[in-house]
Amino acid sequence: MRRIKKLVVATAALFSSLTVVSPSVVQAEAPVDGAGSTWSQIAVDQWRADVARQGLVINFQGVGSTAGRAAYYQGQVDFAVSEIPFQAALIDRNGNVAADETASAASRPYAYLPIVAGGTAFMYNLKANGQKITDLQLSPTTLGKIFSGQIVMWNDPAIVADNPQRVMPATRIKPVIRSDGSGTSAQFTAYLASQAPDAWNYVCQQSGLGGGCDPTSLYPDYPNSGFAAQQYSDGVANFVAAPYNEGAITYVEYGYAKERGFPVASVKNASGAYTQPVAVNVTVALLGARINDDGTQVLSGVYSNSDARAYPVSSYSYMIVPISEASPFSAAKGPTLSEFIYYFLCAGQQKAEQLGYAPLPKNLVEYGFTAVAKIPGAVAAPAIDSCANPTITGDFLVSKTAATTAPGATTAPGATTAPGKTPGATLAPGVTTTVVLGSETTESEASTDGATAEGAPIDAAVSTPGVAMATSVVVEESGAGTSVFVYLLIMIAILLIVFAPPIIAARRHPSVKI
């Protein structure tokens, strides 16, 4: 008993000593908490780190859109980020109202504003005669047929028709969907429901939801669909990237495919051109977004954007901000929140491309400014012309146009490149990966200095993608002999440090038992 007491005391002492040692944090301004979309998390996380240097403390956790919205109306966070707005009453099977988010949220008045824009990419793992296929092209209906399980082979006539430039292999299609609730699923199903309604109805009916079901963040699966379901963006991306999963295709944020050095399909837009989900194409597409009076989005204009550059499966997520001082928000937090919003709407958008997203176009930024004004305690918005958003000040859309205007050009020039080359980077020079790790050449560019807010440097060197391949999380760790040796050494050292004392002690004091 005494020994146990001692153990407890010792542990308590250990914890408290750690507490004392830890540096106390001086917080300049009232911290603001947010939660929600995992889809937007990568960008929000970077912006949060950027503004921390200005003394703004933002905490954002990607717990999922619905959980984020719930945390908002339950008064746990100051703001939420979500792919879809608050949902009106859900009706269950017996016709009862099962949940009514809008009613729940009524106690905390809110406004929507756009936060992160991006395209949903279709990452695939496909080989023909041992060569990686990198120039896959898909039309909306074909996409729908693939992700509804209506076509099962890669040499299906529908796919062949989209890809006249090459012979498709007789490989089985393995559509990979998200098993968890996700904004990516929500955005993709919204696109399917709008652009490939037949396929979407098929999925709905097969999975017992009735025809014409609503877009959903939980992708419907049905028995013998042939789908593989994996959790989270990295899960689906890793699954597709696994060498034994040839024939797999998934919908995922562009960044995950890029990081793994895997190609993504070019999707046919309203003008008939096949485009890649690179930043400029997404931003161009989003110029077609229309916003309702309540701040919710209408994306049909995006899907049917007739600009040849537009990537049709583009969308943006909402930030839900409080417009009253209901707890936990207060006017004291207004400046922090509003300055954070101004940062990410303007200068922060310069990093969007690097992060795998696309900058918000001017129309959405302007809408965002009007929404910020409703936040209690918000500071005044800067003039729209001084906003450092690359689509406003910079020549983002213009400079990229040259590289990507012609429909033919967007569809992967280095089509059948050797595996060492990454088509994602070759096909759109503007999208070089400056965040590739372990590559010394790019380290300096991956700056976190938010104040200077440099734009994404246009680095045409194709050397980095090679590195991306080597470090990509393709099932096995990099087999460099020295590193294996080093970590074995470290492991042995740790084991020695831990186990040597008791052994030595035991040797010195052999227990005597009579």
């Binding site: 403390v57 956790q61 990607g62 989270y232 990081e259 999380v473 740790i494």
Partner: protein, 377 residues
């Protein structure tokens, strides 16, 4: 012994033993020869068969083949030499050795894997800095996880402060005191052990945060962990308390000891090493839990050393969050976090075993010193 005899002077310590002590040979030469011979012939046989059968590919398959043949051949050899009973003993020995080592192999692989993934960005500042200025685009060596380390230690510490005393006293209730609740309590604790950890988080979120109007704090996370901790520690403690021979209790009571003294001075010290195991299993259960924390601690990027107010981070949550980023730098940071978590666990357990892990008849050096101070030894 009250002897009045002449005894030789007390010079025992200085005397040198000259006798040659008998070496107890567990293994004889013939056994070694049998083993080596079996190993070699198994190698030859599997080499031969491997070319034809090829059930499993690669070195692993060869090893499996060899191992099966080795066991068969050596068992037959021992049978011939020593009879059936020895052969059975030999087979059981091989089997148990294999099983014992089989449990270690995955540990080595897992730990090696985590080290291999995590050592790149393991720098001292990982223990001193937080993630305040670190985003997805930062280099993996920037920033650190000190906020998450402090959070995890505090949450697990508070959870143990709640659960260990409560769990052990509950086990004492179940085993020593007993009452009308014993049976239902035992049943419900058994059932609780399989409740998914996320339910604990949802429960604390619904009951402590939403219903009672608290915010997400490290303490709320600790409560969720405590809910998970409690069944494990109670069940394991109960198993070890039940092993304390009843004769000891009777002996203590017969000496006029009160129930309290019997329990605190006889039962618990006897079960000490088992209780430490119980606590270790409990800590092991909760220290890596992510799911219950997502809803309860809220997560943070900056140091918050106050578990009672404000959102806090935790190492598993840190890992869980960062590993899903597309950026390699974040993924590396996550693996480093995982490595640190494993190291922390290792250190904590070694401390726990060192303080209280030995058997009851092993008097620790600490206790010896205490006894010496009291003049008892």
């Amino acid at each position: 012994m009250t002897t009045t005899l002449n005894t030789t002077p007390n010079n025992n310590e200085t005397k040198i033993d000259t006798e040659e002590r008998i070496k107890i040979r567990d293994i004889e030469m013939i056994d070694v020869i049998v083993m080596v011979g079996s190993a070699l012939s198994a190698f030859a046989l599997s080499y031969f068969f491997f070319q034809i059968l090829l059930p499993v590919s690669g070195a692993l398959g060869f090893f499996v083949c060899w191992y099966v043949f080795f066991n068969i051949i050596s068992t037959v050899a021992v049978w011939e030499l020593r009879g059936a009973i020895k052969a059975k003993d030999h087979l059981a020995r091989m089997f148990i050795w294999t099983g014992g080592l089989a449990a270690v192999i995955p540990l080595i692989l897992v730990v090696a894997y985590v080290i291999g993934k995590g050592y790149h960005s393991l720098r001292p500042q990982f223990f001193t800095q937080d993630q305040k200025f670190v985003g997805a685009l930062s280099d993996s060596t920037e920033g650190g996880g000190s906020h998450a380390i402090v959070g995890t230690l505090q949450q697990v510490g508070i959870a143990s402060l709640i659960s260990v005393p409560l769990g052990i006293t509950t086990a004492v209730y179940l085993n020593e005191v007993k009452g009308r609740l014993t049976r239902p309590l035992r049943m419900i604790i058994d059932a609780m052990s399989a409740v998914p950890s996320i339910v604990a988080g949802l429960f604390i979120y619904a009951a402590w945060i939403l219903a009672l109007g608290n915010q997400q704090t490290g303490f709320a996370g600790a409560l969720a962990l405590a809910v998970l901790f409690l069944p494990t520690v109670t069940r394991t403690s109960e198993v070890v308390l039940r092993l304390v021979p009843g004769g000891l209790r009777e002996a203590s009571l017969a000496l006029g000891g009160t129930e309290w003294r019997t329990t605190s001075r006889v039962v618990l010290p006897t079960a000490k090493s088992g209780l430490v195991t119980a606590v270790i299993l409990g800590v092991a259960r909760v220290i890596g839990e992510t799911a219950p924390l997502i809803l309860t601690v809220g997560g943070a990027f900056v140091m918050n050393a106050n578990p009672l107010s404000g959102k806090q981070d935790a190492l598993p949550y840190f890992v869980f969050r960062l590993i899903r980023f597309p950026q390699e730098a974040q993924v590396q940071r996550a693996w480093t976090g995982a490595l640190v978590l494993v190291i922390i666990v290792l250190v904590l357990f070694v401390i726990a075993r060192a303080i209280g892990g030995r058997g009851p008849d092993n008097i620790s050096r600490l206790k010896k010193r205490r006894l010496k101070r009291k003049g008892l030894a």
